[in-house]
Symmetry: C2
Subunit: 154 residues, 2 copies
DNA sequence: CCAGATCACTTGTACCTACAAGTGAGGACT
DNA sequence: AGTCCTCACTTGTAGGTACAAGTGATCTGG
């Protein structure tokens, strides 16, 4: 079978595995977890909704709903941005920060089990290069990979 | 950044690209398309719901809803299985077969553009091996890759 | 300083998927 | 035959996402 059909199959299956583990172990969608994780790595654990949406590949309506639900669970807080009255800042609460810390190991272990351990060391290296090349097409601005921080013109 | 985080990013982005193209050009979910495509490759373009579910990584309720909607659009037909009164056979109609033929080229072109063309020939070869290794973990029975046909005990 | 355009969200509606419960056919055991 | 159990779906309900419309705040031109 062609390489791309196998890749499509992987892309079909892997999200279900990751999502399932997080739902079972942390009552969190994979996307919920991603939101919390990105916030946890931001300075002061605060980001504007627009920035958070860009870094998580979410539309603004989607992020708005998700953050509202996370806020109802006490994992995130929203506050109007002091410098721009239109903007909203999302901040990870202590409970949210604790949630990330207790959830991350299991998530990483799942990825390790289903991805890293399935490959040889050489394949992992190859995968890094392949995923890198794909991301240059799928995510030219590097929004998901943190390239935003060090992005410059040209 | 670690290889696995890039892979997760790819897995996050690629479905959206594939789904979007099919929704725009054919008013079809990527999963809808997958269902039609699998049916189109089956003998007589007929499969039992259970088999179809296994080959598309779907739960039976999900498939039931999807096939009902495809039937309402005239792309698929359902009929009770003659040999087993409990089972239902899903058959691709002429309209469904035409839909697959007119949709496939655009879909393949999208995959080519975003995946194959982004990689070197060597990377495509490497990808085949990597995806193969991952599928042995994610899909041990080879349900999605057609290994069912030639599967035997032990 | 005031009207219009733009921006940053939020809210509402429709669709899709997951989980749970229900229906009816087929097989096992007596 | 009759009962119990399992199988193969179908249906109903809840939750998440997409698209469209609405609400204020900010910028721009006069």
């Amino acid at each position: 079978m062609a390489a791309w059909r196998r890749l499509v199959a992987v892309v079909e299956l892997l999200p279900g595995v990751l999502d399932g583990q997080l739902r079972r172990d942390a009552q969190l969608t994979h996307f919920d977890y991603h939101v919390l994780a990105v916030l946890s790595e931001a300075p002061h654990r605060v980001l504007r909704m627009t920035d958070l949406a860009a870094r998580t590949n979410a539309t603004l309506p989607r992020l708005s709903h998700v953050v509202r639900r996370l806020e109802e669970r006490g994992l995130v807080e929203r506050a109007p941005c002091p410098s721009d009255g239109r903007a909203t800042n999302a901040r990870l609460t202590e409970a949210g920060w604790a949630k990330v810390r207790e959830t991350a190991p299991g998530h990483v272990a799942t990825v390790r089990e289903h991805v890293v351990d399935a490959l040889t060391q050489e394949q992992v290296t190859q995968l890094a290069g392949i995923a890198d090349a794909l991301l240059r097409r799928l995510d030219p601005d590097g929004r998901l990979t943190g390239a935003l921080d060090r992005a410059g013109p040209g």
